[in-house]
Subunit: 198 residues, 2 copies
Amino acid sequence: MSLDGFIAGPNGRPGNPLGDGGLAIHQWVFPLASFRELMGMAGGDINRDDEIVRAVFARAGAYVMGRRMFEEGEVGWPSNPPFRAPVFVLTHHRREPWAREGGTTFFFVTDGIDAALEGAREAAGGKDVRISGGANTVQQFLRAGVVDELTIHLAPVLLGTGVKAFDDLGPQHAALERLGVIDSPRVTHLSYRVTRKS
Amino acid sequence: MSLDGFIAGPNGRPGNPLGDGGLAIHQWVFPLASFRELMGMAGGDINRDDEIVRAVFARAGAYVMGRRMFEEGEVGWPSNPPFRAPVFVLTHHRREPWAREGGTTFFFVTDGIDAALEGAREAAGGKDVRISGGANTVQQFLRAGVVDELTIHLAPVLLGTGVKAFDDLGPQHAALERLGVIDSPRVTHLSYRVTRKS
């Protein structure tokens, strides 16, 4: 997220998944060894940011994402996508599960966020369910009061326009308890427990 | 600022300067010895948050604020207001300078932000000019490209609605360089240098 609350620039679409200017928010992640490895590439930086990205992916036993994030990602992910776990995609279009290399299978859920969460919980095998995004999907789960933790990677940029991470969730939405703040020159990693939901 | 980007709740006005629910964003500051001292009260917590608040005020040789912040604050500040320095208030209403106890004099500037900044720079005697707020005033100075540093105190709360710190500044607004991240259980202090302005 940029300091002014954006997770992507405007005009996001397949082929431009970060939106115009959105690279400035996410560029810290691309050189990391963990990210490169997840994308099927060798090499990369090994540092604290790298450890954190590795840990974030390692905790998740299943993922939930919105249709647009899936469609924007689909064209860029390698044949072995970075999830290595079941991914539940919220959509209105029925589609058979799509098994990819490396353990990632996309399941398409047409009956709402509760069903997606239930499927992901069962599939996660005791590990975390991670709501990958996009922003609209995260906001739906926050509004439903089912989010236990928030992980934010705060990038040092004022993007000025684009897709808001939180938008207006509604009055007095949630108290948080800070779990950890880890700082690096390129990004600040913030994690919180949600202590009062919706 | 709340994690979702608000600096006050909705319905802010004199008597309700933080807006509905806005206390959740600012409550970390009230128990601090430095804040209590600035408000003319004895006692209070002495900790890292306290040191930071003390340092933020100590750096400033003059302040600029918007009319609404002045009007909301005026009813709550003691006869010795917390600034102890010249304060330049942006307004459309001419008014004679108002000298208070302890070194705070409010100057009312009717010819725009450039004039306010020029007056504050001269008055600051080589120290910093601090743009106190509110959000709209900070945004005007950010858009004008004259902000050198940003200091954000990030509170662990999703407020859900209210007054946005940054709002939409415009595309590709500014790159930042992280100066420091200092964490405490109640708030995360973030400071940035603005490296590419407007």
